[in-house]
Symmetry: C2
Subunit: 155 residues, 2 copies
C-alpha cells in the first residue's frame, strides 16, 4: 500500500524521514537526523517542492519511500516529474515494494499533469535499474539511441 504523505500526517512524515535518513547512511552519505529532516520535508511538501510516497507492508510498517519533484515544464503548461529518491529497506527488497512505489510515482505524476519523468541512478545499482526498466523507463535517448549520462558537482 502506497500513500501520498501530507504535511499534517505526522506519523507518515516521521516514517519517511527515518527511511530517507537510513537511505543516506546505507550509501555513506551525510544525513540530517530524522527529526530535523521531517521538519524540512514538511515545508517541502507544503510549498509544492516535494511529493513524498510512503510504502507500507501488510501490517502497516513503513518499508519504502519515493521522493518526487513535480515542476512546471519549460516548454508548455504541463509538468515534468523528477524522481529524486527511491528507497526500500534492505530486508524487504525484491518483494514488489519498489514496483509498487514506481507505479504510484507514475500514477501521481500523470494525475498531476506531468508528461515526462526522469531519474538518475548509478551503473552499479542493478536492482534499481531493473525496477526502472520494468516500470517503462529507458536509459537511451529515443529508441536505441545513445545512453543518457548524468554529471554532477558539489558547489
Amino acid at each position: 500500500m502506497v500513500e501520498i504523505v501530507t504535511p499534517e500526517a505526522d506519523d507518515a512524515l516521521a516514517a519517511v524521514a527515518t527511511l530517507l535518513h537510513d537511505f543516506n547512511l546505507e550509501y555513506d552519505e551525510p544525513s540530517p537526523e530524522p527529526e530535523e529532516l521531517a521538519v524540512t520535508l514538511r515545508t517541502r511538501i507544503a510549498d509544492g517542492n516535494a511529493t513524498l510516497l510512503l510504502a507500507r507492508d501488510e501490517s502497516g510498517g513503513p518499508v519504502g519511500v519515493a521522493a518526487l519533484r513535480l515542476q512546471p515544464s519549460l516548454w508548455s503548461d504541463a509538468l515534468e516529474a523528477y524522481l529524486a529518491e527511491l528507497y526500500v529497506v534492505p530486508a524487504r527488497r525484491g518483494q514488489g515494494f519498489g514496483r509498487e512505489l514506481l507505479t504510484a510515482v507514475l500514477d501521481t505524476s500523470r494525475a498531476a499533469g506531468a508528461d515526462y519523468v526522469y531519474v538518475i541512478t548509478s551503473e552499479d545499482d542493478r536492482l534499481a535499474q531493473r525496477a526502472y526498466e520494468a516500470a517503462g523507463f529507458r536509459r537511451n535517448e529515443g529508441e536505441g539511441g545513445p545512453i543518457l549520462w548524468a554529471y554532477e558537482q558539489d558547489l
Copy 2:
C-alpha cells in the same frame, strides 16, 4: 557576455525563446514557436521555476543560452541546481561561449545558495561532455565511483 534574463527584458526573452526553439529543431525535438515559448518562459522566470542565462557575442548578438532550475534541497535549507538546457548556436561553437555560460551557471547557482548542481547529457555529445568536465562536473558518483545514468519516459 552572459546576462540573467528578467521577465521584463522583452528582447532578451525573445532571443532566448528563439535559441531554445532552434535547439529543439536541431535535435529533431518538437518545439513550440518562439513567440509562444517566450510567454511560457516569462512565467517560469517570474514564478522562480527557471533562471535563464543568455550569452551574447562581442556585437551583442545572442549566441547561446542556459536554462537552470534552482530548487530547495530535500535535505536542508540549501538549494540544488538542475541545468535543464545548454545551447550554443552551431556557427559559434568551440569559441568559449559554452564555457562562459557554464561559469555563469555555477556563479549564479552559488550566489543563490545552491550546494549541488547536476545535468543530463547524451553519451554521443562529446562537445557538451568536454565542456561539463572542464567546468568541474563529473559523471562518476564520488571519486572514480560508478557512472551515473539517467532514465526517462514520456507519460
